[in-house]
Symmetry: C3
Subunit: 216 residues, 3 copies
């Protein structure tokens, strides 16, 4: 009904938040691309270089989130809008931090076995990041009634559900195949961080849903 409300909520009042939110989502996409690369690499010597990319995306994310926060504190927008912009920025930043921690764990734990489940989970994280990126772009231009935002957060929820299945299947496989308990714990810890990051992406999806429900 209230066509263009979402547009009017963010954009006209304060056009500067969109580019900043887009910057955050770009940092997220770039970190998730690094993660996919990390688990594709054949030569372990490449890991430190890939990690540098992820780390630099993480720093970029921190920087823009802090900028968004400062702008929010000094801008004349309503408290409601503030909270939504702030939540989106914070939660995207949380996803990037999660990706960074996954990479850290791989670097530090030095698991002996190849993490055969990791590429699939990294792909889910990367797909989810692409949905977020698309949603942020759509927030700006879309009419609230056209259902685009909804498509994004529904797809994010679907990705999260598929990650749950990968997690459970993988854990039970490891329970049956891995006889070294310490290696098992390492794999479980990395797998768990992957799943937590997917959950954080889903949290961004839920915030997008809240915005949609609020202003639809």
């Amino acid at each position: 009904m209230k066509i263009d409300y979402i547009l009017s909520m963010f954009a006209p009042k304060d056009g500067k938040f969109f580019p900043l939110l887009e910057e955050t989502s770009t940092a997220l996409k770039s970190a998730s691309d690094g993660l996919v690369e990390l688990f594709e690499r054949e030569d372990p010597k490449e890991i430190p270089d890939i990690y540098k990319k992820i780390k630099s995306a993480e720093l970029a994310g921190d920087k823009v989130t802090s900028k968004i926060h400062k702008e929010l504190c000094s801008s004349f927008i309503t408290p409601f809008d503030r909270e939504d912009v702030d939540a989106l920025a914070d939660e995207m930043d949380g996803c990037i931090d999660g990706i960074n921690r996954i990479a850290q764990k791989v670097l530090l734990y030095e698991p002996k076995r190849k993490l055969y489940f990791a590429p699939q989970m990294a792909k889910i994280i990367s797909d989810g990041s692409a949905e977020i990126s698309g949603a942020i772009k759509d927030l700006k231009t879309m009419k609230s009634s056209d259902g685009k935002l909804r498509k994004h957060y529904k797809e994010i929820k679907r990705l999260e559900e598929s990650a749950d299945l990968v997690y459970e299947k993988t854990i039970s496989e490891i329970f049956h195949s891995e006889s070294d308990p310490i290696e098992l714990i390492k794999q479980k810890e990395i797998l768990h961080e992957l799943e937590k990051t997917v959950n954080r992406i889903n949290k961004v999806g839920k915030t997008l849903k809240t915005i949609y429900v609020k202003y639809a």
Copy 2:
């Protein structure tokens, strides 16, 4: 003071949300009954049938949550009410998902030892689900001043605290009695999912409390 406010908030404006929230709480109660059954069974051959019940409650929960969401987007209620209805629906659905994951883990991990702690935790989850079910019913008819809602979320908090104790006691017992680390990890993983589900039930309790505080 504002007698009947809670009633007026949800019901008159839009009578259709109550039946839907009740449907969600019924699915939750039914999933939690399945969980109690799951840990009572003597014959492992019964597990798949019990799991089917839980899974079908989970699908019912998903369906009604999605319906609530659609209705919220097309109904003329205020943003505030929307958020509360949405949170209640989502969080109850999260409880059902948790129950489903507990059952999945039991099925997939095939722990060798009997999970002696599980019936007690399942009972707490089932009792908590009954409180939620009662609270949703009371939301409709009660006066905000009569304290019924408060009784429910206080009981939920008490249940959550008792689950914490069961968790800690059980883990320390397992640490002393289980010598096979991989079996220990399996039990810990299932116990942890049980505890997480109790926490989610407590989150519903907190949302009920927020509604109470907001409109009291």
Copy 3:
């Protein structure tokens, strides 16, 4: 811009919430002091006495949180303020509960090895609790524009990031040094509870930030 808004939000309308929030933060500080003591002790026989201190701080926290809640339900303040006071009280109480669970785990699991990482994590928790305590005091007297609140939650965020590093470094060290998987799991479980408590402190920081963003 809106100088003194934060002050006007809480204090004049209802002066009784400040002393109660301060009481909660005092209980938190006292629990965190107990935690530091717990990991400094040389003689294991001292543990039960230190635990009593933590437990009594936990009970004090529960009591004042429940009092805040009752007051909120019967006071004439706006829904918005209610939610913020309620969130602050609840989240501080959650930190105290976390500290209590850390101590419980140490008592119940009886790890064989000295937890060399614990004093550092306990210090972070204690420093974070001091920041919270300071922020609650500043909420009362400060102007929203003077940046004091901001300094507190920025420091809390920094502490949380340093805890993440300690966690990752410690876990990877344990993976390389601990050959008994059950002892490894015990240490990981305690370390994880320490990290979770730091995250909860950071959640209080985020709520302080939300209050700042909302009313700045």
